[in-house]
Structure formats: C-alpha cells, structure tokens
Symmetry: C4
Subunit: 233 residues, 4 copies
Amino acid sequence: MDADESPKSALVTANAILARQGVLDAFGHVSVRHPDDPSRFYLARSLAPERVTGSDILEFDLASQPVVPSAVPLYSERVIHGAIYQSRPDVNAICHHHAAAVLPFCLTGLTLHVVTQLGATIGKHVPLWDQRDEFGATNHLVTKPEEAASLARCLGPHAIVLMKRHGATVVASSLRELAFRSIYSCRDAELQLRGLQHGPLDTFTDEEIALAGKFPEATLARAWDYWRARLRS
Amino acid sequence: MDADESPKSALVTANAILARQGVLDAFGHVSVRHPDDPSRFYLARSLAPERVTGSDILEFDLASQPVVPSAVPLYSERVIHGAIYQSRPDVNAICHHHAAAVLPFCLTGLTLHVVTQLGATIGKHVPLWDQRDEFGATNHLVTKPEEAASLARCLGPHAIVLMKRHGATVVASSLRELAFRSIYSCRDAELQLRGLQHGPLDTFTDEEIALAGKFPEATLARAWDYWRARLRS
Amino acid sequence: MDADESPKSALVTANAILARQGVLDAFGHVSVRHPDDPSRFYLARSLAPERVTGSDILEFDLASQPVVPSAVPLYSERVIHGAIYQSRPDVNAICHHHAAAVLPFCLTGLTLHVVTQLGATIGKHVPLWDQRDEFGATNHLVTKPEEAASLARCLGPHAIVLMKRHGATVVASSLRELAFRSIYSCRDAELQLRGLQHGPLDTFTDEEIALAGKFPEATLARAWDYWRARLRS
Amino acid sequence: MDADESPKSALVTANAILARQGVLDAFGHVSVRHPDDPSRFYLARSLAPERVTGSDILEFDLASQPVVPSAVPLYSERVIHGAIYQSRPDVNAICHHHAAAVLPFCLTGLTLHVVTQLGATIGKHVPLWDQRDEFGATNHLVTKPEEAASLARCLGPHAIVLMKRHGATVVASSLRELAFRSIYSCRDAELQLRGLQHGPLDTFTDEEIALAGKFPEATLARAWDYWRARLRS
C-alpha cells in the first residue's frame, strides 16, 4: 500500500479494479482487515463494487456486524469475511466473486490447476466447497455464521476456495496481492478452459508452484498500478 | 421504480440497459404495462432500443394497436406484448430479444437450466415454442395475433419462453425484475454453454430454485442502479 | 440512402460501421457503384477502413483502374470490385472482409447456413471459392483480373462468396443492405459456431429463407441508423 | 519508421499498440535495437507496457545490462532481448508476451500453422522451447543468461518461438514488422483454435507461405497507422 493511501481508499480502488477487470459485476464484494486492529475489517454497504466510494465503507467486527449500528442495507453474505478473518490470522484481504472464468469449474468436475507463472498465485491446491454437503437444499447464499464457518474450514490454509454452483472466495495478505490473485487466477482458469478443448494440459508441478508462487512486492505493484491507470481510460 | 421515475422514463432506461448489457442490439423491444390502466401498455415506435427516448414511446391497447393513431413505423412483432398482457395479469413488463447467449439453445436440443443463485430467476421450466408447429413455413416473425396467442399459450405461467431459430421472450412483474431476469438468464445461459464443453453440469434442484428465485427489491435495485450508472461510462 | 447523403459520404459511413462492428480491421474494403454511371465505382485509397474520410475516396472504372491517374497507394485486391460490378448489374455495393466469424468456415468443410430470421440475408446458398483450384500456389491475394473474374463466376447470382483460407466477399443492392448483410451474416456465422458445439443445428428451409430474406427498407434503415449512432459512443 | 520518429518514440508507440491490441497486459515487454550501434538496444524500465513513456526507456548492452547504471527496477526477463540480439544480427525488434491467443498452444501439443494470408508472417515453422528440458524445475521466468541463450538457440532462424507453459517471443527486422507479426500471429492462432473445434484445418503450404510472407512496407505501415490511430479512441 502506498504510504499515503488509507485502507479505505485502497479498498475503493480494489473494488473498482476488480469490477473493471471482469472479476466482479453487480454482485460480489471485497474487504480488508483493519491495519491496527485485527478484530475489525472494512467492507462496503450493499452496493455494486464499481460504485463504491469511501463514504460507503463501514467497519465490521469478526462476527460481521457493523461496529457502529447502521440502517443501510448490508451484503447478505458478509459473514464470509468475518469467518475467514477469524480462522486465518495471516489473511488481510478477501474477495468473494462469481466470475465467468471460474464458474465452469464450479459446475463440473474440472480441477483448477496452475498452468502459467502468473497463475502460480493460485497455489498447489484449490478446495471445492458444496453448501449442499452440510446444509442440504438452500438458496445458495452464505448468510449464516455456520455456513461461513464451514466455508472457512474448507478453505483451510489455501488461497482460493471454489464454491459449487456459486463462485469463489479468494484470500491474500494484502489488497494488492488480492487483486493480483483474483485476476490472474481468472486468467489461468480461462486459459485452461480454452486449452482443454484441444487436449490434456501440461501443468506446473508442486515444486514449480512453490518456486513461482512467491511474487515480490514490485510485481504486485506493477500490476496494481497498471489496473489503476486503466480505471481512467 | 423510484417514486420520481415515470413509467416512460423507466422504460427508456430499461431499453438502454438491455442494449448496453448485450441483450438487445438493433432489434428486440421492451414494454411496460400502464400502471393505472391494465388494458394499456407502453412500447417505443420502431427504433433500435439504445436510441429510444421518451418522445419515442407510444401507448398501446391489448390488441397491440396504438391508442392514438400514428403514422410512425411500429415494431412488426408488437403483438407479442399485447397477447401476453392479455393472458398474464401478473405480468407488467416484457422483453423480446435475440441475444447470442440464448440462441444456441434455440438452434439445438439443449435445455436451459438454472446453474447459479442469480440464474434462479429463470425458474423451474423454460418452454420452447416452434412457430413451425402451428403455422408451417413462415418468415419467423411473430406478426399475427394468432401467432402471438400461440406463443403466450406456450409461455403459460413461466418466466421465459425460448423461440426455435428465433430468440426469447421474457416476462416480469416490473421493469427492474425484467432487466434482472433478462440479463441473468443470459449470463446463466453463457455459463452453461461454457461448462458443457467440459462435462455434464451440476444444476439447481427445483427446491433450490424455489428457495433462491425470489429476489428482494433491494437486490433488483442494486443491479439496476449499477447498470444505469454504467450507461454513463 | 438519405436524400441528403452523397454516395461518398455514405461510403465513409459504411467503412466506419463495418470496422466498428468487427467485420473489418486494418484490412478489407468497401465500394459503392456510381449512382449515375454504372461503369464507375467509388473505393478508398489503400487505408484501414476506420480511417477513411471523403477525401480518401477515388473513382474507378470497371477494370478497377482509377479514372483520374493517382500516385497514392491503392488496395491490391481492388480488382474484386470491378470484376463483380461487371458481371452483376444488380449489385451496387461490395465488401471484401476477413472477419473472424466466417474464417472457421473458410478453414474447414463447414457450410454456412441460415439459422435466424435476420440471417436469412445470407440467402439459400453460399458458394466457396478456392484460389488454388485454378491458380495453384499463390500468396492468396486476389490481384489479377483473371483471379477476380474467377471469384465473380463462383459468386454467380448469390449474395456472399466464401474464400478458402482467406475470407468473404459480400454484395448488395445498396450500402445499407450491404452493411446489414455483412454484419448479420457474421452474427449468424457466430451463432452456428457456438451452436454446433452442442449438437446438430436446426436451420431455415429454402421456403423460409425466401419468405424471410426480403428485408424492407425500414428494417435496413433502423439497423443503419443504430450502427451510425454507435460510431459516436 | 517515419523519418521524424525517433527509436524511443516508436518504441513507446509499439508498447501502447501491443497493449491495446491484447498482446500485452500488465506484463510482457518490447525492445528495439539501437539504429546506430548494433551492440545496444532500448527497453523500458519495469513497467506495464501501456504506461511506458519516453522517459521510462533505458539503453542496454547485449549482456542486457543498462549502459548507464540505474536504481530503477528492471524487467527480470530482459536477458531474452540481449541473447537474441547477440545471435540474430538480422533482428532489430523483439516482443516477449503471454497473449491468451497463443497460450493454448503452449499448454498442449497443438502446432501453430499459417491459415491466412496475413498469418503468413508466422513463417514455415514455429519451434517450441521448454525451460524444463535443460533447467529442470524453475519458476518459469527466463532470468539467467544461459536460459536466454537456450531460448535463442531454439528460436534459431525463425520468427517466433513458443515457450511451454509460458508464452511467446517474437522477432522482426523493425518495430512495424514486429507489431504486425505479434498481432497477426495472435489473430491466426485464434482462428485456428476456433476452426479446430469444427474439423481439421486447411493450412498454407510452404510454397504459399514463402509467396505470402513477405509484406511490403506499405502494408506494415497501413496496419501500424491504424493501430496508432486507435490509441486515441
């Protein structure tokens, strides 16, 4: 984060970038943990991500309740954020999305692999959560604390969890890493969908993922600055 | 509808949104029932939806004739609207389109299913109408009252009717719901087309569709406000 | 053509529309027959269609030579235009393009059919010309009068001729019809490519093509006006 | 190159064109050999290509070290450029990219062929380099001189080398030819991916590639001028 960039301001930028790059549309949401108080996080009121401004951002506790009671409508799936911040102290930013790039993996038995250097941000394993397994027939929204806790358990120590018939939840140590991971996991997913139409794919080995998957801050910043510049064009 | 938004103004916005989101192009049309007189509806004169302004909108009776005789060219398929408003008192808004997302379903034996929470707006069953069945060889335009009545019968109590080698007609209780249903049925259709290239799809059960398919007004408004904001970018 | 629209001005618009709608890119070209002298036609100097302005348009004779000798570079494949204007007195506008929508048909044995009402502009039969058949190994540019004459013979009385490993040439009685036919043949081609991935397609019969394929001037104008309005957005 | 266009200015334009045309995104890079000193080349500091301006461009020697020591971050894969300029005196411009159009070829056993006249810029043979063959498990970045030398050997006398699980490196005698080759090889790759879903492809023979593959300067300039004009829209 730039020294002069507040967490709220960076969160507004992350919302706009992820919308502009096709990860989010009218739905989906992004949060960031409070830099000084790990028991708090920032998340917008219920609003399409591209329309979020600084004044739309509220502070939540880890039960996903607003710290200052508010009458504005809130994201019905905000419990996803609190549950993961509780179980993953290393996570400082979360994106829940329904990008067209990952949905085919959520609708079929396809496994999401790493197929390029940038895609190594996906990590060695992407678990798949099915709300049906524990909760039977639902509307497929993750709105109850026990549903979110189940999703967080399935995510475990990984970077991304796919959600059957639903979408994905991506976690990272910073908003810059979150944008990078959300976008390049979608790009790698697209490449796999296209490649698979022409034969089995040659994927990265676990050793190669370990070597490639740690991206220096300069790499994350180069991508972030590019996507931010594109917001004005 | 916003308290300060007239039906004509909302209809102009719906035309623009559905064009910008890829449901309509030079062709296709959208109507809304008169809020005070259920035997009337509003529809533009023959014009590409994106170009429709308030002064292009005319009032029609349920025989799809303009209430005030007019010399301007009218949509040749406007009978679709009158026939459905006659048979479906619960319907207040209709869109007829030829979006690329649904055409593959209209050209093959593929069935349109619900595969995501937002896609539950499609409903449990999507009937398929074939103009050939009752009318033999035609130019595939629905221009006669008996053709429109046949289409309305096939639609029955459902939300969407697919039309063989032609497109789709979508109905809803409001323009906001219509935009939501038209757009997210196209999105779900796209996901199915992509997913099916990689294996059989895991779809929603009827019970899940019943649970997910009733979207609160706040959800419809969040999407509508997002699409409306995108008209200016 | 609007009463107040000169042929050169309409040709500039057609160039811009066909570029903006994805039929043309840096290459491809569009011509219109001189309204008062059937032995002349208008075509731009060698320039990407989107960049063509009125002052770039030259007058050619049916040997595809400029009427006023000029030192500016000319399209190397301009002989296509002269040859077809010679053999087809009913043709007043021609577009040669390499749109991605039709190329898969030019690279495989796929036949281009009519699958929608708007696609009926394609007509009952689309011949396929292979430069190899008469001319053996070439660079696949149609630059010699005998190559263009061969292409015109293959086109015969039809509306579109596909060119193996190359693209398509589309003819029409006016620039408005040409734009409509070029764009909606590409749209129908796209629908077929998508649909064929999911099963055999249900196509129009010859009788239906005959009924649907004659589009009134108002239909052509509605599409043209829409595409022209989109040039400004 | 225009008489009034400096190499740095042309390199800025090439970066912008290749980003706008979808060959480059946040990553990838383009260089040009110094016109007066074949032992030097120009390349930007580490920056997304679309954001490169004249002041971001540095001069490098053929060991890929900056001629004037600099503290700014440099592309980690800049050794690709120096190694190829060393081994290929005929090459004056290089682009390394990860375009979605070529990745499916890098992930499967698919061979990139020439299927259109413009695609003949690809040449008769496209070698495929696999970093694993000589270097075992790596992060798939080409950062060591010996890795770049291996890639240059695999490229040999050809115009493009595909890189397994990575992307492509394209070479040319000028920036205009480089833009043309990078973009039209991607277009031909896309056409092959689409066509192959519908049957075996009819490709150019070696004799036809030889006849078609030499593009006059006017052709390269027409495309370059078009893409440059599109940067402003």
